[in-house]
Amino acid sequence: MIKRSAEPLLWMTFSAGGVVAALVLPVLLFLFGVAFPLGWLTPPSVTHLAAVIGHPLTRLALVVVCTVSLFHAAHRFRYTLYDGLQIKHLNELIAILCYGGAVVGSLASVYLLATF
Protein backbone atom coordinates (compact mmCIF):
# COMPACT_ATOMS: atom_id res chain seq x y z
CA MET A 1 0.00 0.00 0.00
CA ILE A 2 1.28 3.42 -0.93
CA LYS A 3 1.70 5.73 2.02
CA ARG A 4 0.15 8.99 1.00
CA SER A 5 1.29 12.28 2.44
CA ALA A 6 -1.30 14.46 4.13
CA GLU A 7 0.70 17.50 3.06
CA PRO A 8 -1.25 18.41 -0.15
CA LEU A 9 -4.55 18.23 1.75
CA LEU A 10 -3.14 20.44 4.50
CA TRP A 11 -1.97 23.03 1.96
CA MET A 12 -5.40 22.94 0.34
CA THR A 13 -7.17 23.63 3.64
CA PHE A 14 -4.56 26.32 4.28
CA SER A 15 -5.60 28.12 1.08
CA ALA A 16 -9.31 27.60 1.60
CA GLY A 17 -9.00 28.82 5.18
CA GLY A 18 -6.95 31.80 4.06
CA VAL A 19 -9.69 32.93 1.69
CA VAL A 20 -12.55 32.29 4.12
CA ALA A 21 -10.78 33.93 7.07
CA ALA A 22 -9.96 36.97 4.94
CA LEU A 23 -13.52 37.33 3.66
CA VAL A 24 -15.54 36.67 6.83
CA LEU A 25 -13.51 37.30 10.00
CA PRO A 26 -12.70 41.03 9.68
CA VAL A 27 -16.34 42.14 9.58
CA LEU A 28 -17.28 39.88 12.53
CA LEU A 29 -14.33 41.14 14.58
CA PHE A 30 -15.14 44.72 13.69
CA LEU A 31 -18.77 44.33 14.80
CA PHE A 32 -18.48 42.13 17.89
CA GLY A 33 -14.95 43.11 18.90
CA VAL A 34 -14.98 46.87 18.33
CA ALA A 35 -18.21 48.50 17.15
CA PHE A 36 -20.64 46.90 19.63
CA PRO A 37 -18.39 47.09 22.71
CA LEU A 38 -17.61 50.77 22.01
CA GLY A 39 -21.27 51.58 21.44
CA TRP A 40 -20.75 52.74 17.83
CA LEU A 41 -23.53 50.40 16.75
CA THR A 42 -26.35 48.66 18.61
CA PRO A 43 -25.80 44.93 18.92
CA PRO A 44 -28.59 42.65 17.68
CA SER A 45 -31.09 41.38 20.23
CA VAL A 46 -30.60 37.82 21.40
CA THR A 47 -33.73 36.68 19.54
CA HIS A 48 -32.55 38.22 16.28
CA LEU A 49 -29.01 36.82 16.67
CA ALA A 50 -30.31 33.36 17.62
CA ALA A 51 -32.60 33.39 14.58
CA VAL A 52 -29.68 34.30 12.29
CA ILE A 53 -27.37 31.65 13.77
CA GLY A 54 -30.15 29.08 13.91
CA HIS A 55 -30.77 29.13 10.16
CA PRO A 56 -29.38 25.90 8.65
CA LEU A 57 -27.34 27.78 6.04
CA THR A 58 -25.72 29.99 8.68
CA ARG A 59 -24.92 26.98 10.84
CA LEU A 60 -23.33 25.18 7.91
CA ALA A 61 -21.42 28.32 6.91
CA LEU A 62 -20.17 28.85 10.46
CA VAL A 63 -18.92 25.27 10.76
CA VAL A 64 -17.04 25.69 7.47
CA VAL A 65 -15.64 29.09 8.51
CA CYS A 66 -14.46 27.76 11.89
CA THR A 67 -12.99 24.51 10.55
CA VAL A 68 -11.04 25.83 7.57
CA SER A 69 -9.89 28.95 9.43
CA LEU A 70 -8.54 26.84 12.28
CA PHE A 71 -6.69 24.50 9.92
CA HIS A 72 -5.34 27.53 8.06
CA ALA A 73 -4.07 28.99 11.34
CA ALA A 74 -2.63 25.65 12.52
CA HIS A 75 -0.76 25.09 9.26
CA ARG A 76 0.64 28.58 9.12
CA PHE A 77 1.66 28.61 12.77
CA ARG A 78 3.36 25.26 12.34
CA TYR A 79 5.58 26.73 9.63
CA THR A 80 6.10 29.90 11.66
CA LEU A 81 7.71 27.76 14.32
CA TYR A 82 9.79 25.93 11.71
CA ASP A 83 11.00 28.92 9.70
CA GLY A 84 10.68 31.85 12.07
CA LEU A 85 12.02 30.34 15.24
CA GLN A 86 13.95 27.57 13.50
CA ILE A 87 12.55 24.90 15.79
CA LYS A 88 13.05 21.86 13.62
CA HIS A 89 13.80 19.14 16.10
CA LEU A 90 10.23 19.11 17.50
CA ASN A 91 8.60 18.37 14.14
CA GLU A 92 6.08 15.81 15.31
CA LEU A 93 5.16 17.48 18.58
CA ILE A 94 4.49 20.83 16.87
CA ALA A 95 2.37 19.19 14.18
CA ILE A 96 0.35 17.26 16.76
CA LEU A 97 -0.26 20.36 18.90
CA CYS A 98 -1.17 22.60 15.94
CA TYR A 99 -3.48 20.23 14.09
CA GLY A 100 -4.76 18.74 17.36
CA GLY A 101 -5.88 22.20 18.42
CA ALA A 102 -7.59 22.70 15.07
CA VAL A 103 -9.37 19.34 15.38
CA VAL A 104 -10.60 20.14 18.91
CA GLY A 105 -11.84 23.58 17.82
CA SER A 106 -13.55 22.18 14.74
CA LEU A 107 -15.32 19.48 16.75
CA ALA A 108 -16.43 22.13 19.25
CA SER A 109 -17.89 24.20 16.39
CA VAL A 110 -19.70 21.16 14.96
CA TYR A 111 -21.14 20.31 18.39
CA LEU A 112 -22.16 23.90 19.19
CA LEU A 113 -23.84 24.50 15.85
CA ALA A 114 -25.45 21.07 15.54
CA THR A 115 -27.10 21.51 18.94
CA PHE A 116 -27.90 25.21 18.50
Binding site: L23, P26, L28, F32, H72, F77, L112
Partner: protein, 139 residues
Amino acid sequence: MAHIAEHYTEYHPRWLRPHISTYWWLRKWSYFAFILREISSLFVAWSVVYLLLLVYAAGQGAAEYEAFLEWSRQPWVMALNVSSLALVAFHAVTWFNLAPQALVVHVGHKHVPGSLIAASNYVAWVVVSAIVAWLLIGG
Protein backbone atom coordinates in the same frame (compact mmCIF):
# COMPACT_ATOMS: atom_id res chain seq x y z
CA MET B 1 6.86 20.37 -1.02
CA ALA B 2 8.78 17.21 -0.32
CA HIS B 3 8.58 16.13 3.24
CA ILE B 4 11.80 14.76 4.62
CA ALA B 5 11.69 13.27 8.07
CA GLU B 6 14.85 14.31 9.83
CA HIS B 7 16.29 12.04 12.42
CA TYR B 8 19.36 13.36 14.10
CA THR B 9 21.95 10.89 15.14
CA GLU B 10 24.51 11.42 17.81
CA TYR B 11 27.48 11.31 15.47
CA HIS B 12 26.02 13.32 12.65
CA PRO B 13 28.74 15.36 10.94
CA ARG B 14 28.37 19.09 11.47
CA TRP B 15 26.93 20.81 8.42
CA LEU B 16 28.74 23.76 7.03
CA ARG B 17 26.19 26.51 6.99
CA PRO B 18 26.21 30.07 8.22
CA HIS B 19 24.52 30.83 11.51
CA ILE B 20 21.33 32.85 11.15
CA SER B 21 20.28 35.06 14.03
CA THR B 22 16.91 34.32 15.64
CA TYR B 23 16.08 37.99 15.03
CA TRP B 24 16.75 37.96 11.27
CA TRP B 25 13.18 39.11 10.67
CA LEU B 26 13.85 42.48 12.33
CA ARG B 27 16.37 43.50 9.67
CA LYS B 28 14.06 44.48 6.83
CA TRP B 29 10.44 45.61 6.53
CA SER B 30 9.70 42.81 4.06
CA TYR B 31 11.00 40.23 6.57
CA PHE B 32 8.98 41.82 9.35
CA ALA B 33 5.86 41.84 7.18
CA PHE B 34 6.41 38.15 6.56
CA ILE B 35 6.54 37.40 10.28
CA LEU B 36 3.54 39.65 10.93
CA ARG B 37 1.60 37.67 8.36
CA GLU B 38 2.70 34.43 9.97
CA ILE B 39 1.71 35.68 13.43
CA SER B 40 -1.73 36.61 12.07
CA SER B 41 -2.49 32.88 12.29
CA LEU B 42 -2.71 33.12 16.08
CA PHE B 43 -5.22 35.95 15.79
CA VAL B 44 -7.25 34.04 13.20
CA ALA B 45 -7.44 31.19 15.73
CA TRP B 46 -8.49 33.59 18.52
CA SER B 47 -11.18 35.09 16.25
CA VAL B 48 -12.70 31.64 15.78
CA VAL B 49 -12.62 30.99 19.55
CA TYR B 50 -14.28 34.36 20.17
CA LEU B 51 -16.91 33.59 17.53
CA LEU B 52 -17.67 30.24 19.16
CA LEU B 53 -17.97 31.90 22.59
CA LEU B 54 -20.49 34.29 21.05
CA VAL B 55 -22.45 31.43 19.46
CA TYR B 56 -22.48 29.60 22.79
CA ALA B 57 -23.69 32.68 24.68
CA ALA B 58 -26.41 33.42 22.11
CA GLY B 59 -27.60 29.83 22.39
CA GLN B 60 -27.91 30.07 26.17
CA GLY B 61 -30.40 32.95 26.14
CA ALA B 62 -30.60 36.65 27.00
CA ALA B 63 -28.73 36.59 30.32
CA GLU B 64 -25.68 34.77 28.92
CA TYR B 65 -25.67 36.97 25.82
CA GLU B 66 -25.73 40.14 27.94
CA ALA B 67 -22.89 38.74 30.04
CA PHE B 68 -20.90 38.08 26.86
CA LEU B 69 -21.46 41.65 25.62
CA GLU B 70 -20.42 42.98 29.04
CA TRP B 71 -17.29 40.80 28.98
CA SER B 72 -16.46 42.00 25.46
CA ARG B 73 -16.22 45.55 26.85
CA GLN B 74 -13.38 44.66 29.22
CA PRO B 75 -10.19 46.53 28.27
CA TRP B 76 -8.06 43.42 27.73
CA VAL B 77 -10.71 41.75 25.57
CA MET B 78 -11.04 44.92 23.52
CA ALA B 79 -7.27 45.24 23.17
CA LEU B 80 -7.07 41.65 22.00
CA ASN B 81 -9.90 42.14 19.52
CA VAL B 82 -8.52 45.42 18.14
CA SER B 83 -5.13 43.72 17.56
CA SER B 84 -6.91 40.74 16.03
CA LEU B 85 -8.87 42.99 13.68
CA ALA B 86 -5.66 44.74 12.60
CA LEU B 87 -3.80 41.49 11.95
CA VAL B 88 -6.70 39.65 10.33
CA ALA B 89 -7.24 42.66 8.05
CA PHE B 90 -3.50 42.60 7.26
CA HIS B 91 -3.83 38.92 6.45
CA ALA B 92 -6.79 39.69 4.18
CA VAL B 93 -5.00 42.47 2.27
CA THR B 94 -1.80 40.46 1.77
CA TRP B 95 -3.81 37.39 0.82
CA PHE B 96 -5.86 39.24 -1.81
CA ASN B 97 -2.76 40.94 -3.20
CA LEU B 98 -1.11 37.55 -3.58
CA ALA B 99 -4.13 35.96 -5.27
CA PRO B 100 -3.04 36.91 -8.83
CA GLN B 101 0.19 34.95 -8.33
CA ALA B 102 -1.61 31.86 -7.09
CA LEU B 103 -4.42 32.07 -9.59
CA VAL B 104 -3.50 32.56 -13.25
CA VAL B 105 -6.67 32.75 -15.29
CA HIS B 106 -6.93 32.53 -19.04
CA VAL B 107 -9.99 33.42 -21.07
CA GLY B 108 -9.48 31.85 -24.48
CA HIS B 109 -5.88 32.72 -25.29
CA LYS B 110 -5.97 35.89 -23.26
CA HIS B 111 -4.30 36.18 -19.88
CA VAL B 112 -6.58 37.85 -17.33
CA PRO B 113 -4.56 40.69 -15.74
CA GLY B 114 -3.55 40.16 -12.11
CA SER B 115 -5.02 43.47 -11.03
CA LEU B 116 -8.44 42.23 -12.14
CA ILE B 117 -8.10 39.08 -10.05
CA ALA B 118 -7.02 41.06 -6.99
CA ALA B 119 -9.86 43.52 -7.57
CA SER B 120 -12.44 40.73 -7.77
CA ASN B 121 -11.19 39.49 -4.38
CA TYR B 122 -11.69 42.95 -2.88
CA VAL B 123 -15.18 43.15 -4.38
CA ALA B 124 -15.99 39.76 -2.81
CA TRP B 125 -14.67 41.07 0.53
CA VAL B 126 -16.98 44.10 0.39
CA VAL B 127 -19.98 42.00 -0.65
CA VAL B 128 -19.47 39.36 2.07
CA SER B 129 -18.90 42.02 4.74
CA ALA B 130 -22.04 43.87 3.66
CA ILE B 131 -24.15 40.69 3.76
CA VAL B 132 -22.87 39.73 7.23
CA ALA B 133 -23.44 43.25 8.57
CA TRP B 134 -26.91 43.39 7.01
CA LEU B 135 -27.86 40.01 8.52
CA LEU B 136 -26.70 41.11 11.96
CA ILE B 137 -27.84 44.71 12.24
CA GLY B 138 -29.98 45.52 9.24
CA GLY B 139 -32.13 42.49 8.59
